[in-house]
Symmetry: C2
Subunit: 203 residues, 2 copies
């Protein structure tokens, strides 16, 4: 199970046997049941979580009392509240299993030590963060450049399998609108809104 993490790391840098041993002693595999929490508001986030199997969501309760999903973590994604993890301030987020999942947890303290013992890992996490930042920018751009309906249709086109794994109200929350609205556009025919040669729908 930790091997899925090792495999992932090896896509970015190359670890020798000693490095792999260090990673293995630093990481802890845990199993979480659907709806179980890895983090809740007012707690300090103490670990970075690698999803080796299943699906995790990160969300907060907005001022109207609604859940707002900020990100999903699926296979081979890291998920954590970097702000709380780094500063030690209490988090405002929930991190919760959407499905029964297998998680590799790297505790902050252990992670810091690992980065000293295996400096290559600095590069790995730099690259991971660069990817995460890029994805976040792209997501943000979609939010501002598309109508809610377009964003929904694009998401379904990009991740048809994923859409079926989660309840609709979570998809609505992730995409930034109400479940009622999602239900309405699903009912409508594919009213191909503004369609101008939709090239480049990358991941």
């Amino acid at each position: 199970m930790i091997d899925s993490l090792i495999a992932h790391i090896n896509k970015f840098i190359s670890l020798d046997e000693a490095d792999i041993a260090e990673v293995k002693t630093s990481a802890k595999a845990i199993v979480v049941k659907k709806k179980e929490f890895l983090l809740q508001p007012d707690e300090i986030c103490r670990s970075n979580y690698f999803v080796s199997k299943g699906c995790i969501r990160l969300y907060f309760i907005n001022r109207s009392g609604q859940e707002q999903i900020t990100m999903f973590g699926i296979e081979n994604w890291w998920i954590t509240d970097y702000d709380s993890l780094e500063t030690g301030k209490p988090s405002q987020y929930y991190i919760q299993a959407v499905e029964d999942s297998e998680i590799i947890s790297l505790h902050k303290k252990t992670l810091d030590e690992l980065l000293v013992k295996v400096p290559k890992m600095e590069r790995y996490f730099r690259l991971i963060l660069q990817k995460a930042y890029t994805a976040s920018m792209r997501r943000f751009q979609y939010f501002r450049d598309q109508s809610d309906e377009e964003r929904y249709r694009q998401f379904v086109a990009l991740f048809p399998g994923f859409v079926q794994r989660i309840p609709q109200y979570m998809l609505a929350s992730y995409l930034g609108f109400t479940p009622q609205f999602l239900s309405k556009i699903r009912g409508k025919p594919e009213s191909r809104t503004r369609n101008q040669d939709n090239t480049d729908v990358n991941s």
Copy 2:
């Protein structure tokens, strides 16, 4: 001028004299006049830019033909299109000077070499990216948790000086609404919209 970069790096890691020399030979100081471009769409982004003085914006033209500002870079911020920089794919963004500015440019090739020669720099950029990612998440959250008017009032409260440095239409674009709307809320008295004990307006 490059010293401002060295100073910044030293806030995160400690460089010895040899390291500093490497950074200095890798970096190139450039001066850009207001409205000058560091990047335009269809070009490949080849450098990471550190703003040592002035103000830079990163934006794209959306499908309605409007400029949408994704981020501002001010003193001590790195600004680049990480996606294009990393993948070598053409960018869709503009990077442009909002004021006459002083920039430290790190070319991708030189940067990669520097990271090999001075591995500590991996850590520096990991930390920078972590901060950038955190900021991006926070900004995204504000977009979804606040009305346009609230977001404007909070921004003015947080960065009163900066608001005066840029034209209103840029602020509107950054905050995600039209210049007309900004003009309207500026005219209004401080109609303290939904105000429910607004604690925690952190940076």
